[in-house]
């Protein structure tokens, strides 16, 4: 059902996001709470952010495919100030992490459900979803059952 929303409606749902023809399927996936990353259907290479080509084999046969969402924290920043966003209060520094997904492509978002002093490079995370302005936002959660690297 949500799959069928028009380009016009997609842009409206994600107002403020840089929606274009090349990343539209990634954002359509968000509406189904599915994190889709570009994958080459010819050579299998994952690539992000979306671009119409495969940088490895130059194929144009690229699709936005779901990823597991499991990965390892690669970069961490705590924003003490930043752009206004619903549900973001910089009075507690807001974590932004780049996660190296197990598919060997990186995705950047925030971490939920953790104290800032627990958020460290090398720790394992899993994908989760929250809502911002009534729209799903992919986020990460620490894998608490597992020791960090």
């Amino acid at each position: 059902m949500v799959l069928d929303i028009s380009d016009e409606e997609l842009v409206v749902r994600f107002r403020g996001h840089p929606i274009d023809r090349d990343n539209a399927e990634h954002y359509r996936g968000r509406l189904e709470r599915q994190l889709r990353i570009n994958r080459c259907k010819d050579c299998g290479t994952w690539n992000h952010p979306p671009i119409p080509t495969c940088p490895t084999c130059w194929s144009l046969n690229v699709e936005a495919a779901p990823v597991s969402g499991d990965g390892t924290i690669y970069l961490v920043v705590f924003l003490h100030q930043g752009p206004p966003a619903e549900g973001v209060d910089y009075s507690v520094p807001y974590p932004v992490v780049t996660v190296e997904l197990d598919e060997k492509v990186r995705f950047t978002s925030t971490i939920v459900g953790a104290n800032n002093d627990e958020i460290e490079i090398g720790k394992r995370v899993s994908l989760d979803w929250i809502e911002r302005t009534a729209t799903p936002l992919p986020v990460f959660r620490l894998q608490t059952s597992e020791k960090s690297e």
Partner: protein
């Protein structure tokens, strides 16, 4: 893949460099006025008239056509507005002169406090409505732009266990050098305690790890070395210039601290140029963020990976904070982006030229002959230039 071909080597030169100076407050001048003031200053310094200029090249705003209009330049045979930082327009101008597209290029960069830089610039109605509106506000969950440097600073700290003081050495050196620079925006002395106590902005980087938003402009005249010899100032020859970019150039996808645009620039300059770090008298590693400087110092080959902090501690004066490599080579002698002001590298290039021409005032280094500027960051804008006098 690095090519050593460099047919313009030493054939194109800076004939002059001038600046309005910089301030970390809103001036009551537009960005085009700042650029025009710097352009007029450099043309007067070089004894050139409007009819002598046939090329104009600056960073994106103001456009070349506005500079032509403001200075009444009769006709141009070449013009361009490459993106920042400053080595982009310099590289374009050097190429255009070497290729014969024009003979004398007026080159400029106008730094301007944009509405999203500071709360006070947001309040200036002309900054909100004019050309200089800048980028829209992104969502918080991004490593784009400034956030990416904080992200890679966290990675550097993780990989090398670097303490904050290593970043502080860069900030203290810039501030010490700015004190003697009348063009600089930030000239109050700074201590390591000041640095460590500064407000965190994007942890692990604090306010004093980031360059200062300023109003002000630099301008340059770039022409053939032959023509420059007939002008009043000593020609500063472009020995080699490079704009480097590595694949996966998005901030969060960049391969590693061992593989980004800086490495491309270093390999290219070493292949094309006639001298390297053992031969230079002045070094200008970009310091828009302190993490950039630490990596330039390592990647240029002054020390090994992760060793920049220790290297700086061994090459700095404990009392003043000033860095002198091997007791001889100053680093960002003008105060850098951190303390002169965020000029996208135009300050670094201008200072290199003024030092090589013997025009650096109280900061003048004794008899420098060669300079290395490594400008820009990691991802999309690493760049460098080797400069020398005859």
């Amino acid at each position: 893949m690095t090519s050593s071909r460099n047919p313009s080597r030493d054939l194109v030169a800076f004939a002059g460099a001038a600046s309005t100076g910089f301030q970390a407050q809103n001036t009551e001048q537009s960005q085009v006025e700042l650029a025009l003031r710097a352009c007029i200053a450099v043309l007067k310094q070089c004894g050139l008239r409007a009819s002598d200029i046939d090329g104009i090249c600056g960073t994106s705003t103001p456009e070349a056509r506005r500079i032509q209009s403001g200075l009444g330049i009769d006709e141009l045979t070449w013009f361009a507005n490459p993106v920042m930082p400053m080595v982009n327009p310099v590289a374009a101008a050097v190429g255009a002169v070497a290729a014969g597209l024009c003979d004398v290029v007026l080159c400029y960069h106008a730094a301007y406090r944009l509405p999203w830089n500071t709360a006070s610039s947001l309040k200036d109605p002309y900054r909100a409505t004019g050309q200089a509106t800048g980028a829209g506000m992104p969502q918080p969950e991004t490593m784009a732009g400034a956030v990416g440097y904080a992200g890679w600073a966290s990675r550097y700290i993780y990989e090398f266990n670097a303490p904050r003081e290593h970043f502080g050495y860069v900030a203290l050196n810039s501030r010490h050098n700015a004190i003697d620079n009348p063009l600089a925006a930030m000239r109050e002395p700074m201590t390591m305690d000041d640095y460590l106590a500064a407000r965190m902005i994007r942890s692990p980087l604090c306010l004093l790890d980031m360059d200062v938003p300023v109003d002000g402009a630099d301008a340059f005249v770039i022409t053939t070395t032959e023509r420059a010899r007939d002008l009043p100032n000593r020609p500063v020859l472009v020995n080699a210039v490079s704009l480097g970019m590595a694949d996966q150039n998005e901030e969060d996808q960049s391969r590693s601290l061992e593989r980004n645009g800086q490495h491309v620039v270093i390999e290219s300059l070493k292949a094309k140029g006639d001298f390297w770090i053992d031969d230079i008298d002045l070094y200008f590693p970009y310091d828009g963020f302190t993490i950039i400087t630490l990596n330039w110092i390592e990647n240029a080959g002054f020390c090994g990976r992760g060793e920049a902090g220790v290297f700086l501690s061994e090459n700095r004066d404990y009392e003043s904070g000033q860095i002198m490599i091997n007791g001889r080579v100053p680093v960002n002698s003008h105060g850098g982006a951190l303390s002169e002001g965020g000029t996208q590298g135009s300050g670094h290039i201008r200072e290199a030229i003024l030092q090589l021409q013997g025009l650096a005032g109280d900061r003048q280094v004794r008899g420098p002959e060669r300079a290395l500027v490594t400008a820009g960051g990691f991802f999309i804008n690493a760049q460098g230039i080797l400069l020398r006098i005859e």
